[in-house]
């Protein structure tokens, strides 16, 4: 039977390709021109913007800061989220649906609202700081705005729900019968976890780590609001260079580097998943 379903693709593909190429080509082209004042650009093109980013300590520090914050965020989301995902995927109770829906909810509410609440909670005389001061854990109130720690907390809020949803999907693909087999053969719960469930979810955890790391590298909202102009990550720098300094070329070059970084990491995570899949370790 010959139906022409492929033909359905023509119009959507043309529109998607036009948007993709149009947007990407324009800013990538701009990134090869040096900025003059008032948003004008040089006539000759070259790699000057890229050379500047890779040699100027200010830009290098920003790159390092963004990487380090994103690593911390990915580690926190995976580490704190895995127990939640594992229990929700394995234990069925009438709470499961409600809790998972709540997890979905956190990614359906704009980060700005979450940050609103966080700032109120973490104010100098707020509940968190009062408790920590009373316990003697800190000497001065912890400032959420303008510290890397604050940005990390904000980004964890932005990615946590996504991480749990992803790991929940991973644990669900591991057959329960494997856990049961381990238990029948005398493994304790802890041993079942460390020798069966964890090794089998490892590829999913690696992919989750890389995805959250990637998202955090490009995350703008929490970083902008909690950085408070003092902690400037790459996405915030891109926005400032574009809108405040009106340097289209430089902003384009920074964005191009971010894009390159993210795309390379995505390919790496796809390659990792494929290797595990070809070894029949996952069925995702």
């Amino acid at each position: 039977v010959r139906t022409r379903w492929g033909g359905l693709l023509i119009i959507p593909f043309m529109i998607s390709a036009a948007l993709l190429l149009g947007s990407q080509i324009v800013f990538l082209r701009q990134s090869f021109f040096v900025d003059l004042s008032f948003g004008r650009q040089s006539v000759d093109w070259g790699l000057a913007n890229y050379a500047r980013i890779l040699s100027d300590p200010y830009y290098l520090r920003t790159l390092w800061l963004t990487t380090y914050i994103s690593l911390a965020v990915a580690a926190a989301c995976i580490g704190l989220g895995f127990p939640i995902a594992k229990v929700l995927a394995r234990q069925r109770s009438r709470w499961t649906t409600f809790l998972l829906t709540t997890i979905v909810l956190t990614s359906f509410i704009t980060t700005v609202i979450q940050i609103f609440g966080l700032i109120i909670i973490f104010r100098a005389d707020g509940p968190v700081n009062s408790a920590l001061l009373a316990l003697g854990l800190i000497e001065r109130p912890f400032a959420l705005v303008g510290t890397p720690g604050g940005v990390i907390i904000g980004l964890v809020y932005a990615s946590f729900g996504f991480g749990v949803m992803l790991m929940y999907g991973v644990v669900r693909t591991i057959p329960v019968t494997l856990d049961e087999a381990a238990a029948v053969h005398g493994a304790t719960r802890l041993r079942t976890l460390t020798r069966v469930v964890l090794p089998l979810s490892l590829p999913g955890l690696i992919v989750g780590f890389l995805t959250i790391f990637n998202t955090s590298m490009g995350a703008f909202t929490s970083a902008a609001l909690l950085g408070g102009g003092r902690v400037i990550t790459l996405p915030v720098l891109i926005q400032r260079t574009m809108l405040l300094d009106v340097k289209y070329g430089m902003a384009g070059a920074l964005a191009a580097l971010l894009l390159l970084f993210v795309v390379v990491l995505n390919f790496a995570s796809v390659a990792i998943l494929r290797r595990f899949r070809s070894a029949r370790l996952v069925t995702v």
Binding site: F27, T101, I109, Y168, P235, I238
Partner: protein
């Protein structure tokens, strides 16, 4: 919650199972594991939901003094009031309306592009499929800030050469959000369609239904849960987005998150908590309704792909 479900003796009655569970609970080790698990869940979900609770609670609290700054929102409220809801600035209400309509338009547009694209990608047979698929899913890979700056520069370029200015208009926002949202519809529809048997469509076609009739009467009813899930995600991508809209918005056309973002950076006023609560309340209703109508598995899918 955890001790009841696993190691369930198969094919025994409810009473036997309850006895079994009770016996397990009595051993101190298992009880400790259960207590630790429950405590961990309570802690994490409290931390996770605290900001939301504070925002919604704070929006009902009367100010301690006339001149309030953000750090002095009363929580928990000492005196309850609805006055902030009456004082929501006109600009924020308008932005909320813009966000709502824009999200609906983006969801509709993403379905118009994404549904045929998904059907073509899953059912079509042609050589260039990997390339076409990669192009159509590429926006998922692009960080939102990069998409924002890219569309702003594209719109400037179109303005310079074509004399058509779309930056700072709702049309510009629509184009940027459509670009980010379409892959979610493609993903969720393709996921559903891959599980459906193509023979169903072939049968209709062989029996004389036209291609359009086959699509409308056979394919469409099969993929409709995927379409709704995709539309929901498309709406949400647009409704919560800051990084794309911050480049493409203007005072004439601003979305709600951007308006809130600006309010936070400049003049804070607890009426922003009230408008934020309205948006959050809407999201809460939307998610729980979607969970009822579409099922949890559908709801979790697009993000886990």
């Amino acid at each position: 919650m955890s001790a009841f479900a696993d190691h369930r003796p198969a094919s025994r009655g409810l009473a036997a199972r309850a006895l079994h569970a009770a016996r397990r609970l009595r051993t101190p080790r298992v009880r400790l594991v259960t207590i630790v698990t429950v405590a961990y869940f309570v802690a994490i979900f409290t931390i996770l939901l605290a900001p939301l609770v504070v925002v919604i609670g704070g929006s009902f609290s009367a100010p301690a003094s006339e001149k309030v700054v953000m750090s002095y929102v009363q929580f928990p409220p000492e005196r309850w009031t609805l006055e902030w809801y009456g004082k929501i600035p006109q600009a924020q209400l308008r932005a909320l309306g813009v966000s709502f309509l824009l999200g609906a338009a983006v969801a509709a547009g993403a379905c118009l592009l994404g549904v045929p694209a998904a059907v073509g990608l899953v059912r079509g047979r042609f050589a260039a499929k990997p390339v076409v698929s990669a192009v159509m899913r590429a926006p998922l890979q692009i960080p939102h800030v990069v998409a924002g700056i890219a569309f702003l520069q594209l719109f400037y370029a179109i303005g310079d050469f074509g004399g058509m200015y779309v930056q700072g208009t709702t049309l510009g926002l629509f184009i940027g959000h459509l670009f980010m949202a379409t892959p979610f519809v493609i993903g969720s529809v393709a996921a559903v369609l891959q599980r459906c048997n193509p023979r169903l469509e072939e049968a209709a076609y062989v029996l004389g239904a036209s291609e359009w009739r086959t699509f409308r009467r056979v394919t469409m009813p099969l993929i409709i849960p995927g379409v709704f899930t995709g539309a929901l995600y498309a709406f949400i991508v647009s409704f919560v987005d800051v990084p794309v809209a911050i480049f493409l918005a203007s005072p004439a056309a601003t979305t709600f998150p951007v308006e809130l973002f600006n309010a936070m950076e400049q003049d804070f006023n607890p009426s922003s908590l009230a408008s934020a609560s309205l948006a959050a309340g809407f999201a809460i209703v939307l998610v729980f309704m979607a969970q009822r109508l579409l099922g949890l598995d559908n709801l979790l899918k697009p993000r886990t792909k």
